[in-house]
């Protein structure tokens, strides 16, 4: 089998893989009159009217904002809490370290799906239903152990001598964390931010359960709801889908290497 045959087969697979996305973009740009054409016909006179409609009347601007707030806060807070915890696990000696190790390990095994019922009750008992904070806490809790392990394995590669030298110079642990260790940990920081943002942006189940009021909905719940009430609004649905997909697709195209590394490392989620 020649290289060209391989390249041809792979090319066909690649086209098949992206075609559902391209067809969705096509549909979202078609004026209603062009919907009679087969889906693989590109739009002849493209229009953004469906986007405008979904964005304002469909409430997607509000959903977009909610999703963005939650995902950005998730990503930023995750960097800090996971790296601080990993720092303690790697550079400090204390009693009960083994127990904590096991406790974090359990977090890798808990499927979110299995514990959503009690999670709902806890978020409710804190009065955090229909708040950004409730979803953020749940997101952080359910992914933090993966990132603690990710930072830990990165920190273990930091020469112990570097840490020792800073200690001898009289630096506090927090100063070492901030000035010595974190600056070298940039790759782990980028991976954490990207991956947590992606998971948070894409999740449906937690948001479905914890956000019941319309003005608190995220894109995933908004799209689900829109799909339920506007079954026949093909252009509206595809515009909503594209609005939800664009930010993560752009992030992926810009940071593909980081994503690929992160997705393999964080694959257990």
């Amino acid at each position: 089998m020649g290289r060209w045959v391989l390249l041809f087969i792979l090319g066909v697979i690649a086209v098949l893989m992206v075609s559902p996305l391209i067809l969705t973009v096509f549909t979202s740009l078609k004026p209603t009159t062009e919907l009679v054409n087969p889906p693989w016909y590109p739009p002849i006179s493209p229009t953004f009217e469906h986007y405008a409609r979904v964005w304002t009347d469909g409430g997607f601007s509000r959903y977009f904002l909610n999703t963005l707030i939650i995902s950005v806060v998730d990503a930023i807070v995750m960097i800090f809490i996971a790296s601080l915890a990993a720092y303690a696990m790697v550079f400090m000696e204390f009693r009960g370290k083994m127990i904590l190790q096991v406790l974090f390990l359990i977090g890798l095994m808990i499927p979110v799906t299995a514990i959503v019922l009690p999670l709902f009750q806890i978020v409710r008992s804190f009065g955090l239903l229909n708040t950004h904070l409730g979803v953020i806490f749940a997101d952080l809790a359910l992914a933090v152990s993966i990132f603690v392990f990710m930072f830990s394995s990165f920190f273990m590669g930091v020469p112990k001598a570097l840490h020792e030298a800073a200690r001898i110079d009289g630096a506090t642990e927090f100063q070492i964390y901030r000035r010595v260790v974190m600056p070298i940990a940039t790759p782990a920081v980028v991976t954490t931010a990207l991956l947590e943002f992606l998971w948070s942006w894409n999740d449906l189940l937690l948001r479905l359960l914890l956000m019941t009021q319309d003005e608190m909905r995220t894109l995933s719940v908004g799209l689900l709801n829109f799909q339920g009430t506007m079954t026949r609004d093909v252009t509206g649905l595809s515009s909503g889908t594209v609005i939800m997909a664009i930010p993560v697709v752009l992030l992926f195209l810009f940071f593909q290497r980081h994503f690929v590394r992160g997705m393999t490392a964080g694959a257990v989620k």
Partner: protein, 295 residues
């Protein structure tokens, strides 16, 4: 932070300060619910009433004689089986082809991995549209002369589970391709060279060099795909909600219906525990294989 860094107090306090933010959130919103799901599963709680009674193993007994639970259980296995065949089998073949190609490799890889970042909710919307009776899939089948196979995919009892599994595979196979590619890059080039000198054709060198070398990586992808497919909720919920009737009911959707929608918290939790046990066992096996490989 203003303490003498060498003082006893600082050394005791520091680990607590560093761990507190992560640990408090983690314990309250992940560990405690995990404990609670076990606890609920032994009660008859409805999720609202402050009163709940300990009923021992009643929920689990009910589970064993619940026909719908076993249907969901069977569906979950069929669902995972289909996804494993596609993601492990096809994933390996695609990765092996990709590893032999230099031109346009990044572009092709990007196309294959791109769907991985798309939200399951968006995936559900896209495929629900494509699977419509008059949708893209059926139109294409007509065009290429396979119109006899056209069917209302998501409304057909025979096709629905496979159609959804296929859509899920579309959105996840990129991950297996990446993992396989990483494994392939670790295979010694000399082995291929030796096989070529011995007169092996590309298919034979795939069979006798690539496959044996990739056995550990294949195990990793296998277990990973298994655990991931067991946890799926979004794509099924957003398309069929387990229907038509119960032909695409999987454990997660059944649990959600019983627990969150019908307020049978105790019973729903027992289903959750079943899911927890299966996924945990699979994950432990996954980590064991990973560890052995790292050594």
């Amino acid at each position: 932070m203003f303490l003498d860094p060498d003082s006893k107090l600082a050394q005791r306090l520091n680990p607590i300060l560093f761990l507190l933010p992560a640990l408090s959130i983690y314990i309250v919103f992940a560990i405690y619910p995990t404990y609670s799901v076990l606890e609920y599963s032994f009660t008859d709680w409805d999720g609202i009433n402050p009163e709940r009674n300990f009923v021992g193993l009643e929920n689990y007994q009910k589970l064993f004689s619940d026909k719908i639970f076993w249907e969901a259980f069977r569906n979950t296995f069929v669902w995972s089986g289909v996804i494993i065949v596609i993601n492990v089998g096809l994933g390996l073949v695609i990765a092996a082809m990709l590893a032999r190609v230099w031109k346009a490799r990044l572009l092709i890889q990007t196309c294959i991995v791109l769907p991985v970042v798309i939200s399951p909710m968006a995936v559900a919307t896209i495929w629900r549209w494509m699977y419509q009776p008059t949708g893209v899939i059926n139109q294409v089948l007509e065009k290429i002369g396979l119109g006899a196979f056209a069917t209302p995919w998501l409304g057909s009892p025979d096709a629905v589970l496979y159609a959804l599994a296929f859509a899920h595979s579309w959105s996840t196979i990129g991950l297996s391709v990446i993992i396989f590619l990483a494994g392939l890059q670790a295979v010694d080039e000399d082995l291929y060279e030796a096989a070529r000198v011995d007169g092996a054709n590309p298919l034979q060198s795939f069979r006798y060099v690539t496959l044996p070398a990739l056995r550990p990586v294949t195990a990793v992808v296998f277990i990973l795909t298994l655990t991931q497919s067991f946890k799926v909720f979004d794509i099924v919920w957003a398309t069929t909600q387990g229907g038509p009737i119960r032909f695409s009911e999987i454990l997660s959707t059944y649990m959600y219906k019983r627990g969150a929608l019908e307020n049978q918290y105790g019973y729903g939790s027992a289903i959750g525990v079943a899911l927890l046990v299966i996924v945990s066992i699979a994950t432990i096996i996954y980590m064991q294989i990973q560890n052995r490989q790292d050594r």
